[in-house]
Every structure is written in C-alpha cells, then in structure tokens.
Amino acid sequence: MEFTTQHLTALLPLLVTGATAVVVMLAIAWKRHHGQTFLLSVLGLNLALLAIIPALGVTPLEVTPLLRIDSFAAYYSALIIAATLACLTLTHAYLGGASGKGYPGNREELYLLMLLACAGGIVLVSAQHLAGLFIGLELLSVPTYGLIAYAFFNRRSLEAGIKYMVLSAAGSAFLLFGMALLYAESGSLSFAAIGASLAAGAPAQLVQIGVGMMLVGLAFKLSLVPFHLWTPDVYEGAPAPVAAFLATASKVAVFAVLLRLYQISPAFADGWPGHLLSLLAVASILVGNLLALLQNNLKRLLGYSSIAHFGYLLIALIASKGIASEAIGVYLFTYVLTSLGAFGVITLMSTPYQGRDCDALFEYRGLFWRRPYLTAVLATMMLSLAGIPLTAGFIGKFYVVAAGVESQQWWLLGALILGSAIAVFYYLRVMVTLFLVEPSLQRRDAPLHWAQRAGGIMLLVVAGLTLLLGVYPQPLLAVAQNVGF
C-alpha cells in the first residue's frame, strides 16, 4: 500500500511518542541529567497529545493492515498519553531532587521505559489485527517488567518484577495459542475478517476454545479473577508511580483492545465464551471487593479494588449495545482520573524515595490534621472509587448501571450492587483513618511544599477535575458519545 501524508498524520501521535523515546535514549547516552530527561519526556508526550488533533482530522483511516486510526483510537490514545504524563510527573517527584536524598541508582531509564510502554499502549488501542494486538501488548508489557523491578535493590520490587514477567509471559502464551486456533479456523488475523468468516458459519468448537484462550490471556493482563493473583503483590512491590502506570495506562490499553475485538468479532459474544465473561465479571467484583476488606496496605487495597472495577467494566462490555461502549469510555476516564489521584497521594507521601513506599494504612492516620489538602484529595478519590455523587466516579458507575439496565443484565447488576456495598466498607475505612486523631508515632509525610511542585500541581488538577466532572460531566459525555470505530 501507498503511504501518503494522510497516513503519516494519522500515525503522528505514535510517531512522536516513539521519537521521544529515541531522543530521550540518545540524551541519556550523551549526558545523564535527571531534570533534562524529565523535561524531554514531558515535552515529547505533550507534543504527542497535541498531534492527536491533526490525526483526528484524517480519521477514520487504515494505516497498514495492522492499525486503524479512528476516533476510538484517538480517544484512548489521548487517555493513555495523559495518564503517562501524569505518571511521569509523579516519577519526577518520587525519584527526588538532585541533592543526596532520593533514589540512589540511575534515574533516567525509568522515563525511557515508561515512554516505550506508552507507545505500546497507543499501538494496542489502534490495533485491528491480531498481529498488531500482539505487538502492542508486548511493547506495553516488556518495558513494564523493567519498570516494576526498577527499585531492584528492594527485594519486594524485584520479586514483583519477576512475578509479573512470568505470569505475563504465561498470559501471552495463552493469547498466542488462542490466536493460532482462531487463525486455523478463519484463515485471517484481522478482526473484521475473523468476525465475518465466523459469522458465516456456525461457530466451531475450535473457535470457541481459541476465543476462550484469548480471553484468558487478556484476563491475565486485566487481572480478572481467577487470573488476579499477581496484582496485589505487584502493586505493592512496584514503585508507587509505576503502580499508577500499571493501574491506569496499561489497563486502559488492554481493555480498549478487548472492547474493539468484542465489538467487531461477534464470535466473542456467542456461546460459552460469553458466559465465561459473565462469570469472570461476577467473580472479579465479588472476590476483588471481599479480599480488599482484609488489606491493611493501601497499595494492595487499591490493587484489589482495581480488580473489582474491571469487573464492573465487564458488565458494560457484556452489555455491548446501546450506550455500552460510551459507558466504557466514560468509566475508564473516571477510573484513570481516580487511580491517578489515589496513587499520586501515595507517591507524594513516599516522596522522596526512601527504600520503602509509604503504603501502610496506619501511616495515614490523622493525615487530615497535618496535610489537609492532600488528604482532601485522597478522600475525594476514595469517594470517587466508591461511586458517591459529586465525584467523577459516580458518573462512571451511573453509566455502567445504565448500560446494564439497558441490556437487562439483572444478575450482573445484582453483583454490582452487592460489590459496591462491600466496597463502601473499605473505602470508608481508608477515609475515616485520614481524619482520626493522629498517633504520636514516628511518621512520614509529604514534603510541606508538595503542592508547589509538578507532581503536586498535577494532583490538584486531577482532584479538581474529579469534582468538576462529578458536577458537570456533560463535556466528557459529549466526547465519549462521539467515540466510534
């Protein structure tokens, strides 16, 4: 096929992100400088974010058989790039200033790895072909191994990195096997062609097994129950900004591609793979929320809560008609916002890096009376995760419930209500801890001037946006409504 400027324009966000990674790598090779690396990465990603605007002008467009740039890809790319940007600013605060305190090893490569993973995410959300899907997924996952184990002299971080690598590889193996089976039946790897060829005949046993295996592979990445065992450990072990990246950009990308696959290839909705998905949803909601009850570690708690949240999202995925894909767009946006806020507070509390992150719940006791605004941010995030009105999380939950009601998924909605009731308990537990009388124990705090640094400003913007969207969501809904293939 011929490459025109149009194709290049459509690819621009991905190209800019890739170029940024190269430039950052060269700059590191030339001269190690923390601040400069940070600036270059942030600059590059901001350009990539801006590049989405011209790209939107030429959509929808097929660029090579692998990628299709449409408003769907643009929306999720923007979400991923923005989330990565937020994680980068958190990283900068987390690794510490130039003088003595802070992360002792080389700091610059973390930015490089995050940029690469971001590029993988963009490929993933634009994929319309199983090969594109696999390339994107690996480009997203492989740098993530390094990211999680970045604080490798901390045993937990290293353990988490290895754990993630092994399980992620296992997930990829499932995925590949599933793809092979699908290919054997349909003779094509493109989403649309698979869908068309399968729609023609009755779904064969082979296809269903293939689809089932692919679902298992993707469920590993999305940490759906029963493939969730890695999640709490990895969230706990990974440095806080990396955990934020895992919870947001990485999961959004995988979910977006699952949504595209699900919507284009009807094979995923038929027969027992459809029931499998419902089962995964109910199990994720219940198990995720129940296990979160037992946690005394904030990062583990957020890990379990993210399992539950992706269970809620599956409800909208299964609903799959009417406002379902819109609901997913809105829910993912609010979820990203909320997770960034929650992990952002943990990051700032652990800033600068001191070997162990500040993630035990007792370390947050009485925080309100020391850092009122930071606490207000975390409390807002907890309410948003619980889906209480005035926060963005409520709008997301409202949308998912609406999608469920529209397609009459009563059992799944029942699980959602039950799950939410359980979830309220542990979110409130975190929240009330923040406001209790402070202990006289030795404690760790965010730096006093946290709000004047990039990470802090980003956090305040996130909190402000969470509240604003909770009260006036119309702009987001208007955007999400126009997202399509």
Partner: protein, 509 residues
C-alpha cells in the same frame, strides 16, 4: 430563582464555616446559625407568600407553586429541576427549624474541629433540602446519596462511643452501607423506568412530569416499585431493615441525632409520597396490604424494643421506628384523612424526637452517661429538665393537645374507613407508646437518687430551644389547620393516584 438558593445557602454557609474556623470557633457558630436562620426565614416566607393550591395530580401536567429548571446533563435529558408544593414547603421549613436547633444544641457540645463539624452539618441540610425540592429523578438520587457523606463524618468523627463498647465508626459505616446499597437498587429502578419510557416515547429524560406518563406492564411496575420501596424502607426505617438506626442514633452527636430523626427519616416518607405512589400507583395499591402490615409490625416491634433499651438514645431511636410505622400505614391507606395525618405526624415527630434527643444530649452533658441504670431520682436534683422531658414524653405517647395526637388520630381515623383491622392493631402502638415513654421518665427521673449533689440547671440557650419546641408542638396540637391547608392539594393528588388504583383493584376482585 429562589429555589436553588434554598440549597445553596447551607452549602455556601458550610464552606464559610470551614474557612471561618481560623478566625475562631465563635464566628463559625454564628455563621452557621445565620445561614440556618436565613434558610428558615426563606422557607417561612415561601410558606406565607405562595399559593399552595397547586400540586401534582393525576391526569394533568404537574403544577407547582414554584419551579426552577435549567439543563444539566443534556446527554441523558437530565436537568436541574426543582419544584415546590405544599408538602415540600412544610418539609423545608422543618429542615430550617431543626437546622437552627442543631447548630444551637451543639454550641457547647462540640469543641474540637468546629469548622469541619459545621461544614458537615450544613451540607447534610443542603442535601436534605435538595431531596425535598428535586423533581428530576437523577437529581433526586444525587441529593439522596450526597447527604450520606457528611452524615457519615458527623457520626464517625464527633460521635460518642456506645454504651456497649460498639464503636462510632462501625455505626457510621453501617448507616452508610445500608443506605448506599439500597440507594443503588433505587438507581437501577430509576434507570429501568427511564429506559422503559425511552422505548415508548423515544425521549431520554429523568423528568418527573414526563415519567409519570409512562405506561408500565404490571410485572415491571411491581418490580420497579419494589426498587424504590426498598431504598425508602431502609431510610424509613421499616422493621426488617432498621438495625442501622439505633446504632447510628446511639453513637451520633446530639446535632446528628436531631437531623437524623427529625429530617433524614422524613426524606424517606417524602420519597414514598412524592415518587413511589404517583409513579407506580397500581403496583402500590397491590402492595399496600404488605406495606401496611409492615407498618403495624414496625409500630409494635419498635415499641416493644424501645421498652427493652437501657440507653436513652436507643430508646428514642426505637420509638422513632414505632412512630414512623404510623406514617407508613397512612401513606398506603389510600385515604386523604390519613395522608394529611401523616404530614402532621411527620412534623410532630420531627419536633418531638428532636426535642427528646436534645434533652438526652443535655442530660449527657451533665451526667456523662446515657444509661438508665446510672440515672434515677434526677427529678429532685435539677430544675426544668425533668419536667420538660415529661412533657415531650407525653407528646411522644400522643397526648391530646400535642401535634403527635393530631397526627396519630388522623392516621387512625383515615385508615379505619378502609382498613379497620389495621387501624385497630395500630392503636396498640398508642398503648405500648405510653408504656415505654412513662418507663423512660420513671427510670431516669424517679426512684432512688444515685447521688445527692445538685446538677446544674438549664441555661437560657438550652431552655429556649426546648421550650420553643414545646410551644410549636402545642400549637400544632391545638391549631393544625394551617399545616393541613398547605398540604391539602398535594395530598389530594397523591390520594387520587392511589385511590383510583385501589378501587380498580377492588373491582377487579
């Protein structure tokens, strides 16, 4: 334009209180008092100035005394739609009045984090007023949920630890989970109703007036009605789902209890009258016997459970369960007289329960216990308080001359016409009510004294609050006509909805 201000005044007042704390606690209290007085004044002015012969009724587009509408979330046809009729204005005035009282009664009780306390207190009232005014179902649900968070903080942060060692945080969490889970069931029902309406008319809207036109299949209607009913029943509270209430009351600070008993419970009754009956009249008619049965059970169970309590606030909490049972019966009786009685009972119970909680708060400030076993013989040890308690206990048991008597007798008379057996059974509540009310007085104020030292009497602030409430309660008892006139049109509309459905059901049998 005046309706949004009813919600905004407490909201902004709360923010000012929070920031005003840096200039001292006294300023904070005055700001809170001022904004509540403003709310009460506005409510009274609306009551005096508007024509309340307009109210929603079947067969026509709902007419309101005041209305405010502005688009909000266009995607779903959601608008900020507020409206006022006779029922809501009475509830708003009650909210304003109890708002003033809850600020005044915590004047000395709350000494730490005063600004944040008043922020929560005022935001609760803001949410409650929102519930009473919203006629967009999404907006209604929004306010319904929004008032939980400040209430949670109020109980969890300023509450007392219970007499049995139960923690206030557990009580607050229990309250939150009960209401949140049942609220989500209502959300599902609301959305289902909206989508059914969407399929019929092609218009996606949450507007009350439009949704009233929805044609529902009988089975669907019943299920949706249940979704609403469960949410309201939890807040009401109807007996099988009431267990959060005594815990929350026992642990809450006085102001929290006043708001909880005085107005938060009324939001549930209001929701049933405003939404559950008009939206689902046929299903409600079918469900009425069950609801009334639950009401009778609540009356008897609440009274018996109240009798067994050793904690004075738990006793009052269970008595609330019993009194709310009358309201539940009245709502589902389909009689105009009973519905009018329910309105009077809502106001009277709001006043008397608030007064009893304020009195037990004052008792607690002096004795540092709420346990009857540590009381006894208080009549001789302090002036005023025991006598006033006796008055409100008498009001709670429905003594003629108080508003409670008017409310209960209207409910019973109205119900007797159509459901004599229900009325007869409910009357037992009056007998049992006098048992626990007198028992409370006896255990606390009579009998051998535990100590001889005199306790400080009520100061003018405390006296003014309870005497004011007493006067209002007597006024309501001897001249309830203004209240009845105000709510007449609204209740007539509701009665027509349910009455038509009931007679249809009757003829079908």
């Amino acid at each position: 334009m005046i309706l949004p201000w009813l919600i905004l005044i407490p909201f902004i007042g709360g923010l000012l209180c929070w920031q005003g704390e840096r200039f001292g606690a006294v300023l904070t209290r005055w700001i809170a008092l001022l904004s509540m007085t403003l709310l009460l004044g506005l409510g009274l002015w609306l009551w005096g100035s508007a024509d309340f012969s307009l109210a929603p009724a079947p067969g026509a587009a709902p007419a309101w005394a005041y209305e405010f509408q502005t688009p909000w979330i266009a995607r779903f046809g959601i608008s900020i739609h507020l409206a006022l009729d006779g029922l809501s204005v009475l509830m708003v005035v009650l909210t304003g009045l109890l708002g003033v009282l809850s600020v005044v009664c915590s004047w000395n009780e709350i000494q730490k984090r005063v600004g944040f306390f008043h922020l929560n207190l005022l935001w609760i009232l803001s949410g409650v007023v929102g519930v009473f005014l919203a006629v967009d179902l999404f907006l209604f649900f929004f306010f319904w949920e929004v008032m939980l968070v400040p209430m949670y903080f109020l109980i969890a942060l300023w509450g007392h630890s219970g007499s049995t060692g139960k923690s206030r945080i557990n009580a607050a969490t229990k309250f939150f989970i009960y209401t949140q889970a049942s609220g989500l069931i209502m959300l599902v029902a609301i959305l289902a109703l909206v989508f059914v309406h969407f399929e019929q008319s092609g218009v996606l809207t949450f507007n009350y007036a439009d949704l009233l036109q929805t044609e529902l299949a009988p089975g669907t209607e019943y299920l949706l009605m249940l979704g609403f009913f469960i949410a309201f029943a939890v807040k009401f509270p109807v007996v099988p789902v009431h267990s959060w209430l005594p815990d929350a009351h026992a642990q809450a600070p006085t102001a929290g209890s006043v708001d909880l008993a005085g107005i938060l419970l009324k939001t549930a009754a209001y929701g049933m009258i405003r939404f559950c009956l008009p939206l689902f009249p046929n299903a409600s008619a079918e469900f009425a016997p069950i609801a009334m049965g639950l009401g009778v059970f609540a009356i008897v169970y609440g009274a018996l459970a109240a009798f067994a309590q050793t904690d004075i606030k738990r006793l009052i909490a269970y008595s609330s369960v019993s009194h709310m049972g009358f309201i539940l019966i009245a709502i589902y009786s389909g009689s105009l007289l009973a519905l009018q009685g329910a309105v009077v009972q809502m106001l009277a119970h709001g006043l008397s329960a608030a007064a009893l909680f304020i009195l037990s708060g004052q008792l607690y400030e002096r004795l540092h216990t709420r346990d009857f076993r540590a009381m006894g013989g208080l009549w001789g040890r302090m002036p005023w308080l025991p006598a006033i308690s006796l008055f409100f206990a008498a009001a709670a048991l429905g003594l003629p001359g108080t508003g409670n008597f008017v409310g209960e007798i209207l409910v019973l008379l109205g119900t007797f016409q159509s459901q004599p057996w229900i009325a007869v059974l409910a009357t037992s509540g009056l007998v049992l009510g006098s048992v626990y009310a007198l028992c409370m007085i006896h255990r606390a104020y009579f009998g051998p004294a535990k100590a001889d030292s005199a306790l400080t009497g009520l100061d003018s602030r405390e006296l003014a609050m309870v005497l004011g409430l007493a006067v209002l309660l007597i006024l309501l008892g001897v001249y309830p006509q203004p209240v009845l006139d105000t709510s007449a049109a609204s209740m007539q509309g509701v009665q027509q909805w349910l009455g038509a459905a009931l007679s249809q059901l009757e003829s079908a049998r």
